[in-house]
Structures are given as C-alpha cells and as structure tokens.
Amino acid sequence: MTRDPFEGRAVSGQAPAVSRGDTSNLADILERVLDKGIVVAGDIVVSLVDVELLTIRLRLLIASVDKAREMGLNWWENDPWLSTSREARDEVSPGISDRLERLEATVKHLADSLEYDRAAQ
C-alpha cells in the first residue's frame, strides 16, 4: 500500500514568523504547474481569497514558444494588448505611437529642465 504522498497538508500551528500556506491556493498551484515552457504574454492580476494580489504573466499554454509557432499559433504576437510592437498598437488606435513618443519627449524635456534648475540653484 502506497503511503499518501499528500498527507500532512492540513494547516498546523507554527511560529508566527513562519506560516503554513494552503495548497489549494491558486497562486501556489500556478507557481508550480507553470514554467518557462509557457508562452509569456499578457499580465493577469489574480485576486486571491485572502485578498493578496499576485501578477501572473501568461496567456497561452503550450509546450514551448517554438512549438506553438510550429502549430500556427502566434496570435499573441499581434494582439495589441499583449504586444509592445508599434504596428500592433497603431492597429487599435491609429497614431497612438506618435502621440506616445511626443508625450515621452515632453516629459523628458520637463524632467531635464527641472533637474538642471535644481542643480543650478
């Protein structure tokens, strides 16, 4: 008879600095069952029962990125919400990349001026 490999999972008393997690916790399960083989695309905020927040970056689950491409699955590369490419962004909001660049340049200019002024005072 094989001994139950998961016996002892019940929460037991511990010293306050070391707590015992619950193995039905989604974050802990995902942490273990996911790995580098997963296509990384998109950010998902997982809200857990204990109101802990954890950002998990994943979307498509397949053996590897190469394998997924081989199977013709590459939708995440063109998804504007999951891709940082200029083309993908502009597909959703035409001209958004130009506006973004102008805004970034303005912010940089203001930050540089501020730093210069403060250093000169």
Binding site: P5, V18, G21, D35, L53, R59, L61, I62, A63
Partner: protein, 297 residues
C-alpha cells in the same frame, strides 16, 4: 486503451480536423504500471518505453480552453476574469490528475501545465530521447516531496536595516555644500541605499538557501536585478506591496526531514524582530525538480 486504439482515436480526430493534441501529465517508473492500471483517472492512458511510463490523455476540455482557445485569426481574449477562470480550471485539472497519479505510485515526475504532443505515437520517442535524464530525475525525487518556501522582508524593516549599515552610513553622511551638490548627493544616497538593500537581500537569501540545502535538493529564484526592481517598486514583489520578496524556493524533502523544515526556516530568518516572514506550502509533486522535456527530438 491499447496503443492501437490510441492510434485509431488519434486518426479519427485528425480526420475531423479538431485534434487538439495529446496531453502528457507525468512520467513514472515502468514498474509502477501494476499499481496504476486500476487507478487511472478517466480518459488517462499509459504509454511505456525504455522502462518508463507516461500518463497521457486527449487534451482535457478544461485545459484546451486555456491553451488553444484562441485559434489563428480569432480575436485573442483579453486578460479578464473569464480568461483567469479558464486558466484556473486548467491548472486545477492538471494538478488533480497529477496528484491522483502520485497517490497511486508514490513518486513521479510531474510535467508542467501545457505539455502536449501531436500524437500518442510521439510519446515513446520522447521517453526514449529523454530516458537517461528521466531515470536520473526519478532517482532524485524518489521518496521525497516538494515543499515551497517564500520569504519576505517588510519594506520598512529592510530600509531600517540598510540605513544602519556601515557602508551606507559612511557615504550618506558626506557633507553636501550647495543645493546643486545637495541634489546630486541625494541621488547618490538613493543609489547607495538601493545597493545596500540589495546586498542585505542577497546575504539573507544565501543564508536561507544554505539552510534549506542542509535538508535536501533546492531550487531557488532570487537575483540582484529582481531585488533592485522590487526595491524601486518596479516589479511585483510576490504579492505584498509593503514587503520585498527575498527568496522563493522549493526544497525536496524526505519524510523524516519534513518536520524540521519550519524550524530550519525560522532559524534562517532570525531574529524574530528583523521584519522577515516566511510561508511554507506543500507537500507538492516535485514540479520544480523536473527538467523540461525535449519534445521536438
């Protein structure tokens, strides 16, 4: 299901053009076949090669929804509650079947979520191509269970510890005549503070990892770049905005050593008022101790 039946089913699905592939849950020692055959979860079959067993099934619906729900040309779903629900469903389905198998055989190599092949015929080839490594990994996990350890450092306590650090004090206390130099000195102080925080995390992670290694094989994720990003608030810190994650690791323990884990961790994060806290989870199938399979071979 026999190999021939598996092949017939695979061909039937190919004809329908809907074959989502075959899912591989875990690899076990070939001797486990007897213990498993009457305890297999519905739809799960065994494929044997090179003295190894793989548990496979058609990709379960729960996992298929999360894996290939977005066919080419289909609009990709947004990160949403629905997407998360499918991922949760897939993860729990995967974990339940792996745990079911592990209960039946005692030790196994759990594969990660999303390990799929085109056909059951690919499985013997994959087992053969990875046989040496799989046998060695099975020997490593035999009689052991994985436990997760996560250690966090309360941000304020960490900052206080860094502020009292000798190297930080010496550089931070330099006089800074003039507002321009004062500003630059402040920037310098911030940078010095960050490196002091990172160094404290590094030292503590090393201590904890060494303590865990005294109990069994360890896998840890911790790096200076990650700590620096967490300290600057640029990276998720494992769930708590008021803490920096010092270490996230897994240790493979023999049963008699499991009772020591909490005490060993507690000692490694001492003293109690240093602002460090740890959480332990488990036991788990030994996911963190399985190397990725070479699937293309």
């Amino acid at each position: 299901m026999t190999r021939a039946e598996l092949a017939v089913e695979a061909k039937a699905q190919d004809r329908e053009g809907t074959d989502p592939g075959w899912y591989v849950y875990a690899v076990m020692d070939g001797d486990a076949r007897g213990a498993l055959e009457k305890k297999l979860p519905g739809g799960v079959s065994l494929v044997q090669a090179q003295g190894l067993l793989a548990a496979i099934s058609k990709v379960p619906d729960a996992i298929r929804r999360a894996t290939i729900a977005s066919a080419p040309n289909e609009v990709a779903p947004r990160a949403s509650v629905e997407v998360l629900a499918t991922i949760e469903d897939a993860a729990r389905t995967h974990e339940e079947i792996v745990e079911h198998l592990m209960r039946a055989v005692g030790s196994l190599l759990p594969l990660r979520l999303g390990t799929a092949v085109r056909s059951p015929d690919d499985v013997p080839r994959i087992l053969s191509a990875n046989a040496g490594s799989l046998v060695a990994q099975l020997a490593t996990v035999s009689g052991r269970r994985e436990w997760g350890v996560r250690v966090r450092w309360a941000r304020q306590a960490l900052v206080d510890a860094a502020a009292s650090d000798d190297a930080f004090d010496a550089r931070g206390a330099r006089p800074a005549p003039g507002p321009g130099r004062g500003y630059l000195a402040m920037r310098q102080r911030e940078r010095t503070m960050t490196s002091a925080l990172v160094r404290l995390c590094q030292e503590r992670a090393t201590t904890i990892e060494r303590a865990l290694r005294s109990l069994g094989p360890v896998k840890c994720s911790a790096s200076a770049a990650t700590w620096a990003a967490m300290v600057r608030g640029e990276q998720d810190n494992g769930g708590a905005s008021d803490a920096v994650e010092v270490l996230q690791g897994s240790v493979l323990l023999k049963r008699p050593d499991e009772d020591q884990l909490a005490a060993v961790v507690e000692e490694a994060i001492a003293p109690a008022n240093a602002g460090l806290s740890a959480s332990i989870s488990g036991p788990w199938p030994p996911y963190s101790f399985v190397q990725a399979l070479e699937l293309s071979g």
